[in-house]
Amino acid sequence: MRELLQRLAQYAHWAVFLILELLAGIMLFRYNHYQQSVWLTQANAVVGRVLEWKAGMLSYVGLGKRNAELTERNIVLQMEATRLRRELGAAQPDSTDTDSLRAEALNGARLIPAQVVANSVRRDDNYLTINRGSADGVCPEMGVLSGTGIVGIVGKTSPHYALVMSVLNTQSSISCRLRGTEYFGYLHWQGGSPLRAYIDDIPRHARFEVGDEVETSGYSSVFPAGIFVGRVAKISDSADGLAYRLEVELSTDLANVRDVCIIVRDDAEELDSMIVEN
């Protein structure tokens, strides 16, 4: 008996080895599940604090470039404002149009500003960590935007941090449509360039061209309709040849995103419950 136990003890490291590898495997496969605790992610309190500190330090490094970008953005917005003012003047009777569009886009939604503390774009499944969590009213399934477009969807939250599944995640799927039409499809990313994503299933009879704008469709409770996603960069056939496959140049450079907003839609639960009932 004792000999048997000794023999077994000699091989204990094999058992430990298998158990540890199994644990690692479980972590790997369950990472995308909402139910799993947020403990072993970058959104846990200690790591979140450290990463926030790092992001704060690094934010000084890129100030020059960021300033240049802001200036450029400013000029673009000024030009756009001028153009819009002119158009608005020309169409004075319909002046409520723009306002109502904007109001419609943000219908029933609030924005929570947040900052990115950790980010990746080089993996196949990328995540961001932001410095707002459940204590600030952030819940899983909320949409995250930057000034230039969509960023991702909140996956897990801890009290002060949240883990966001980036658009640059092979598991991400966001309902989008071509602006001005009702043709819609799901935006997917397949790795590679952080500025290129794909929309499948745009029907053959749809009329559009390279350079057309892509926006969110509003068919889910995550993003309201009409949020800018990017522009059509290339049109090709889908794998089965029955539909178009669009290559979209994303408007947000996720490698370089720092200030974001979380969309809180107070009607989200209602919308979701209706979808379930149907």
Partner: protein
């Protein structure tokens, strides 16, 4: 015993912090990210209980995983490397080596030590990069990241070890 444990814990946290705060932001040529924390395995004498080495290796990988948002990949890779490091050290250490030999350029000879580290790094990086992209079909970029990162990590670890033990 306790002091040794605490020193080991501090070393682990320091390596993890270095990885998360500095090295994860290195993308040399857009591909190569060094992973210095594999060097943690070089700090275990040959007669350390194997279960202990495994647990430490797993913990090291897990800490880096939590910090860099890579679920389980570092832990899996480090556990395998931790499983291999002792049998490998036994085979590659000199014939007359004592049982408490630690893997240093001095104790093993510069060239053998280099090979030893290289094998550990390649095993670790291979597992890490395979797990990172096993659902994925871009073999060429995968191979480039794997090879360039392994090379960079190896160079860094050798430099690190040489600087740490200048005369020994």
């Amino acid at each position: 015993m306790l002091v040794g444990l605490i020193i080991r814990l501090i070393l682990m946290l320091a390596l993890a912090a270095l990885q998360v705060l500095v090295l994860n932001d290195v993308h040399l040529f857009g591909y190569a990210t060094p992973m210095l924390y594999v060097a943690f395995l070089l700090r275990f004498p040959l007669n350390t209980p194997r279960v202990g080495v495994l647990l430490w290796a797993f913990l090291m990988g897990l800490t880096v995983d939590v910090g860099s948002g890579t679920p389980g990949m570092g832990a899996a890779a480090m556990t395998l490397a931790g499983m291999l490091c002792q049998p490998l050290l036994r085979v590659m250490s000199p014939r007359d080596a004592t049982d408490d030999i630690v893997a240093t350029p001095h104790s093993m000879g510069r060239m053998t030590h280099f090979h030893y580290v290289a094998i550990l790094v390649v095993v670790h990086h291979a597992v890490f990069y395979l797990l990172e992209s096993f659902t994925f079909h871009h073999p060429i970029p995968l191979l480039i990241s794997f090879a360039s990162s392994a090379l960079l990590s190896l160079v860094l670890i050798i430099v690190f070890e040489t600087l740490r033990l200048p005369k020994a």
